[in-house]
Symmetry: C2
Amino acid sequence: MAGQKGVSLKEVADKAGVSTATVSRVINSKTVVKGETELRVQKVIKQLGYRPNRVAQRLRTTRGASKLIGLLIPDIQNPFYVDIIRGIEQYAYAKNFAIVIGNFSQNEERQKFYIEILKSESVDAFIVAPFPGMNEYVKELVEEGYAVVCIDRGLANMDLDVVKVDNYQGAFDAVEHLINVGHTRIAHISGNTLIPTTIERISGYEAALNKYGIAIDRDIIVGRNSDHKSGVELSAQLLDMSNPPTAIFTSNNLLTLGALETIHSRGLKIPEQVAIVGFDDMYWAMSLNPPLTAVRQSGFEIGRITIELLHQRIADPTRPFVSIVLKTELIVRNSCGFKLKGM
Amino acid sequence: MAGQKGVSLKEVADKAGVSTATVSRVINSKTVVKGETELRVQKVIKQLGYRPNRVAQRLRTTRGASKLIGLLIPDIQNPFYVDIIRGIEQYAYAKNFAIVIGNFSQNEERQKFYIEILKSESVDAFIVAPFPGMNEYVKELVEEGYAVVCIDRGLANMDLDVVKVDNYQGAFDAVEHLINVGHTRIAHISGNTLIPTTIERISGYEAALNKYGIAIDRDIIVGRNSDHKSGVELSAQLLDMSNPPTAIFTSNNLLTLGALETIHSRGLKIPEQVAIVGFDDMYWAMSLNPPLTAVRQSGFEIGRITIELLHQRIADPTRPFVSIVLKTELIVRNSCGFKLKGM
C-alpha cells in the first residue's frame, strides 16, 4: 500500500515497533474500544501522514453494507458445481456479496474444518451442499443465526432454504428413453448412496423399469463414490459380466466421463455395443464420441436462485423456509441409439 | 455450538445483550487488550458455564500453527486451474494450510476486490495467477510482508517465486507435429495477449513455422479472450476464410472445446477436413471425437510445487526467489492425422 508522501505500511510498522499485519489490522478494525497497541499505531499513522490506497479505503467504507459469503463445494472437479459457482458469482455482485470458496473434496472432516475456518474469519452467511454426517453442523450454523442456503440437497431432519432439481423425474426420463429405443438390460452406476440426490435418482431409475414391467436386477445397480475413478472401475465391472448390460445410466458427469474412458479404451462402439445416458449435461457434450445424450440441470440457474434466497433470508431472517425444485431436461444426442433391430 | 450443560451460544448472547456474532468474535479473538463488551461477554460465558464444542476448540488451538492461504484463480471454468486447485489442496493439508479460493473470472477489478477482502480477513499468504494490470497489487502484497507464490506466470517487473511450464517449447512441439504430418497452413487461436503465457505460446508457434521455412500469415493468428466463447467464434472466423487453414493450434482448453463445438456443428471431419491440437490436456480427452492430440501440462504438479515453495517462503522470508519451469508433454492421439496425401 503506497501512502501519501510515499510512506509505506512497513515504515509505519517499523516506527510503531509492530508487524505490518498489526498495522493492517488496526486500519481495518471495526472495534471502537482501543488497546495500547492500537493507539500507538494510530499515532504513528498520523505522525507519518500515512494513507492507505483508495481501493482499500472504498472497501472498508462499503464492507459494512457488503456481505462475505462462505461457499462450501463438495468437489470442484465436477463441472456441475463449476456451473453453480458461475451462477452464484454472476448474481452475487449485484447484491454486494463477496464469495469465498472452500472445496472439501467430498471429505466430511474437511467440510467441518472449512465451516470452522470461515466462521472464525467472520463470514456473514453460508451456501452449503451438505455432505453425509454434516446435518448437525449445518443445523448449528442456523441456530447461531447465520443465513444458510442449501444447494443440490437439503437436510433430512431440518427445514431450510433449498435449491435443487427434480432428480427422480430426470432419472426416470433418461431410463424411459433407453427403454423407448429398445433396451431392457439397463445398468445404473450410482453415486454415494448417503447423499439424498443419489437415492432420488435410483428411485427414478427403478420407477421407469417398473412402468414397463422390466424386472429390477440388483447386480447391475452399482455405486461407490460420485467420482471419475468410480466411473472407470464400475463400468469395467459391468462390462466384464457374463451377461453384461446393453445400456448404462450414470448418476453424474464424473461417472459418465469415467465410463466413457473405459468404453473407449476397450474399443467398444457407442451406442451399437453399449449405450450410455448421463445425469448432468456438459457444455462440451456435443464434442464427445458420440455426442452424449444427457439429463440437463442448470447449475447456473441454481446459483442465481441461491443468491436470491440468501438475499431474502438476510433481509428477513424470520420468513418461512422454501424448497425450490427445478425441472430437468433430457437432451437427446447420439449415445443411446434408435430402435434396436428385432425388438 | 452446543456447550456444556446444554448452554447455547444464543443464550450467552441474549444474557450479554449482544449478537451471537459478537460472542463468537470474543471467543475467537487473539487480542489481549479487552474492551467493555468483551469483558461483559466473557463474564456471561463464565456464569453460564458455556463451552464451545471440541472441533472449534481444536481449531483455535491449532490456528496459531496453521495458516490461512488465499488462492486467487482467474477462471474456475478452466479445467487446468481445477487441476492446480486439486494439487494445492492435496499438499496443503500436510503443511497445515487451509485454502480459501477467490475466483475472479478474468476480471481485473474483481481480482483487486478479492485481494482486499482476503487481506481484511487476515489471510496469511497468497497464491496468485496475476492478471493484466495486477502487477502493482501483487507487488504491494510482497512489500507488506505476505508470502506470495505466482502460478502459471510471474510479473514483468518484479522477482517472485513462480511455478509455470515451458510454454514456448510446448507450443513449438504442437506446431512441429502438425508440420510433420503434412500441414503448412496452420492457424493459431491465442488467448489474451496481455498475459505472458499467451505471448510465449505465440512465440513457440512462430518458431516452429520459421524452422521449417513456412511464412507466417498474420491473418490466421487470431486471439481475444482465453474462454470458450472466443474459441467458438474465432474458429468460425478462420473456417469462413476463402483460403481457410487445414489445421488449428489452440492456446488453451476452453478455446479447444469452443473450436471443437464449431467444427462439429458444421459437420466437418477431424482431422480429414481440419486438424486440431490444443495446449492443455484434459482427463476426458480420449473420449472426445476424435481423441484429442494435446500439450499436457500438469496442473496437479504445479499445485504440489506451489505449496512447497510457499512453505519454504514462510519458513524463510529472505531466501532467494526461484522460478520453477516444468516441461510439457505432447500427447499424440488422433486429431491431427498422419502424413497427408500428396505431400
